[in-house]
Symmetry: D2
Subunit: 364 residues, 4 copies
């Protein structure tokens, strides 16, 4: 598997640098006959787009998707679907200071030591710009999963710094630019982010994504576990430093008698497992949380070295988000959808014939 | 990639059920000329073994490794190394009650719904018994990495329930049966585990593993990131519900000015990144933590259903650990070593010729 | 994918050396619920076995298969099926002369230059002994394909030196030790092989394998084409130097008007394509031929070099076949079956929902 | 591995249909620091281009390659290299007759039965148009192999119908539009092809490709053999029906005493093996031949069926080659180069440290 590819049967390969001519992806393995039009990418790309609000980065990306292949007369054909987005609004000179300086907390130094060469403009390949194509690819996966299994994938911001939602309402999430589930806190959040921006600093965040409608049986033990694949999928998002399934790290302090999700004919009594047992979906909601670090692209000066190994001071002057976690919500949804799509196909490859004598219990 | 295989270039395929004739693995891609003898597996298998102490499960596994292939006159030949361990001390009748009952919090139900058939004895393929072969395979990886790069992989228990170490000493870790870094707390821990066992309950745990000596440059963006591969590797361990790199979920409340690890010619000033930036090792210690849920194999009765979907009560009567996290320490080390070994080979495939003009800075 | 693994979804990993403790394989991805017992491997392993007749190598391999995992109460469970055969009748001292000499036409020299170490006994990993496990794994694939699709895989020897069958009868094939389809020629063939043995020489062969019952649609363009996968699968058999699909090299002299297989509602008018068009099965018989070189293990002395690079004369004294092509027939069948099994699963992963409005035409 | 991807470490993913907006590829795993400019693709793409001469198809493809990513300031960076070519000179209406008719000998019927939908224009994804990107990707591989190992990859047409070269001269090959190694026969060949075109028919061909400079040790037993990977790579080229390594099918009539390539300190005495022993390069020239079928796109009417399964007559009226084998020469070279590049990287991943005590013998 290419390192820029993702998924065993529904395989997404992305390419492109932040300030190169274009970014794109190739989706291979999509079932035929799915209706697909360029304008269907608009909603999710807008949700991810950095220009959406004042609270995220100021780069304006038109992000018009061109479908280069794999779709004929408006339907997928089973051949690779290539998607292309030209890079526009590229202000590469913003990054001239970084030609030979490594921003601390960035991939600058590690790319350089690995490859001995790097495209410094806007982070090059390590830029979150790449995640645009994940979101685009997931539009295809989400649509297919919804049509065939009623699977729905949603996400929300679950924490920013020390702020946590006091109430929870899915309807609130898409009604504010923070994907925040507590409408009453939106002003508070705005003030918090504005203060951060003024201070030239940034903050971390927690994002939670949830899929409902997933039937039991998706996921392949031992090294292709559904939660294992989710872990790598989500950890591969820029700035992610931790991934949890279900109760996650809260499990550390739980007792077995509390954590185990008891079953009844009417359904599970709880969902500490986050919908995955033994690496296989249980029929409950798949619940995954991730921790995003505060971006290192801040205007507060910091110590670092240059390519000669000499000490220098660095100040990031490009357009950046005070909280990259906000934009990560649709990206995390995308990765969840892509993993589910892949495992759906894997499931039917091996187990299409299986008929279980046991009724599927209602999910909690 | 087979779902029971792990690693792109240093590939480990495991097989076997808890109560079947044997468990084993095939290691493919190992460089030739590594000295390897059956007795070298002893130490790490003993560290993992359930019969090691009263505080872990009472099953006594001899775990004698037979090398079936890939080693000639005591050295690896570059061909697949097959390792075999016969299952002994198998008391399958302990599990007769579970033939048609699904233990809550276990893979019983999900295996059944996926495959329509399962080996119920001791959890079958979903048993932690499988991890024995991960530890065995990692003995090979650890030895090669130590010889060629001075890489050292270590781990310790970092939390059990609400108990956290008050001091930290690597030397203490291997001097007690809990891999606990604070020698003064061992009696407290013993009492805690004993009380749990008496109560018929279990508790979760946190394990931390650390690799030092890893040079900068290992890890492949975008979907083969070092931290992404670590996340899936560790999440694939039984009972793991969360994985963190470096500051992990603590990043959520950090500021960028705090989190970014500033660099100087003398080294990094901190290691919140956990040794990975942009998916590539930075030369700092690789630090990974995982959350392990409390085992559901407890003697407190619980509600569940049987294969007819009827409500039943279940009590687990086999031999089990009150805290499966304890045994997970050497397993987590193993997965860390296997990921590093794989990425070492991947690095030299693509970048063997790279000469960076920038000196490698001392790790913190 | 490990280099000792084969198949994307029905994945077979083999291990073992000719004179090591054992050979074995791990089959991953097998659908659950297939009845499977150790004695079912007997027929095909006997067909491949070297001790079957005076006309193949004199090594007597008991080849008792032990099922180590993946089968519970006589049925596959969906977890990896490990098969093990202990090596017996090993006369390693026969090979002492070869410790530091490279037999011409063998893998001795290339393994040595690649790995700098090799198990010289009986060819080590490069021995055709490895193919035993391919045949064993294919027993599983053949049975599943027969049950689910009425696919039948057969093969025959099609040429030995200059000898070609004058008549063709499938029933004759299994009635003689040469898999020869012309019963009237068997004595002639015996005499030919005996004369070769007496002369201390060997000869090449052509083998043809055929699968009927394969529905249209198996095979994945562009790089996972059914014929592409067949080509690598068959070329990977020891001593194979060429692979043809359908008309194969005869196509070179054909006209388009002759080669194209015209279609009618009653079926195809010919099968020059060998059942594959554009990398996808057409519903016709899959027909593949392979060329096997004459073994280099002959008693006629030859020039070669030793590990110091000095010129030496070599005479092979072990037990060998004058025509390795004979034994290759069941091995080629096995590889055909394994490729089909893999593509069957791949087909239903992506295209399980496809309903074509066009009736499947009867195969010719 | 995606089915539209090729190569384990140097991975090429192609996309695009004959008459869609564009074709392209993503090359992942390329070592950094290779100088690369768009104009370097010109020579090989012209060699493959259909508009090159009157003897191949009349479609004029400008084939200007745009490098979308992976190259910074003229050098590869180690990140994915995306190449794009817009489709021009597309006359889709030529194919209107084929909307619901399956050309015999084409992929029309099999794509339709597999996917239930197909882009009929110019063959869609099954068109040889796709091979443009193989040639483009191989430009990168050839250049790197030449710089690092002095590997040279060349090819020539070896037979057209019954015509075979009477003399052999590499210099002649690039001096005529047929890649024909016998300059004296070029007029004869022209007349032959013209007569075919006039007759509305086509003919098959044999192509031979050769790589010199490959050191011993490339290739991975057992299922990643160099010859196995070459077989699938070449069989995946449109219209290929057979692949041979070295003596190929001539081996069938050879004796072992003739076929085995004896070795001396001065080199091999022959090269029947075609440079591969046991799946590993021997240091001799890698020699591979392929059989190409006569294209089914001919103007002679033929019988076939339509999507309702009714009998119809078909006449192909688009622009086509009377001998597709001619164009296949640079495509076959490309696939050989790509396989070698991949195995070069695989070799150094596992065996970078190996030092053989045996001198490499001069290749014959």
């Amino acid at each position: 598997m290419s390192s820029n590819s993702f998924g065993k049967l529904f395989t997404v390969t992305t390419f492109g640098e932040s300030h190169g001519p274009a970014i794109g992806c190739v989706i291979d393995g999509c079932p035929p006959h799915l209706a697909l039009a360029p304008e269907e990418f608009r909603t999710d790309l807008d949700r991810r787009a950095t220009g959406k609000s004042r609270y995220t980065s100021q780069r304006h990306e038109a992000d018009d998707v061109e479908i280069l292949s794999g779709v004929f007369e408006g339907r997928t054909t089973g051949t690779p679907i290539a998607l292309l987005i030209r890079n526009t609004d590229v202000r590469s000179k913003d990054y001239n200071d970084l030609v030979d300086t490594f921003r601390p907390g960035h991939a600058d130094y590690t790319y350089w030591q690995k490859y001995g060469i790097r495209d410094h403009r806007g982070g090059g390949r390590s830029s979150a710009r790449e995640t645009t194509m994940r979101v685009a690819a997931a539009v295809v996966a989400k649509k297919w999963l919804a049509q065939h299994f009623n699977v729905r994938v949603r996400g929300h911001l679950a924490q920013v710094g020390a702020l946590v939602p006091r109430t929870f309402d899915w309807d609130a999430v898409d009604a504010n630019p923070f994907f925040w589930p507590d409408a009453a806190m939106v002003t508070e959040l705005e003030n918090y982010i504005n203060a951060l921006r003024k201070a030239g600093d940034s903050v971390g965040a927690r994002v939670t994504v949830v899929a409902d409608g997933v039937p039991p049986g998706w996921g392949e033990p031992i090294y292709g576990k559904l939660d294992g694949d989710l872990a790598s999928a989500l950890m591969s998002i820029n700035a992610v430093k931790g991934v949890e399934i279900g109760a996650g790290f809260r499990s550390v302090e739980q007792r077995g008698s509390e954590h185990r999700d008891e079953m009844t004919p009417q359904g599970f009594k709880s969902n500490h497992a986050g919908g995955v047992l033994g690496g296989i979906s249980s029929g409950q909601d798949i619940v995954v949380s991730l921790a995003l670090k505060p971006t290192s692209s801040i205007t507060l000066p910091g110590h670092t070295i240059n390519i000669q190994g000499e000490p220098v001071e660095v100040v990031t002057t490009g357009r950046h988000d005070p909280c990259v976690g906000i934009r990560a919500t649709p990206i995390a949804e995308a990765m969840l959808a892509l993993v589910l799509m892949d495992h759906c196909l894997r499931f039917r490859a091996q187990c299409a014939d299986v008929v279980s004598p046991t009724p599927v219990i209602t999910r909690r």
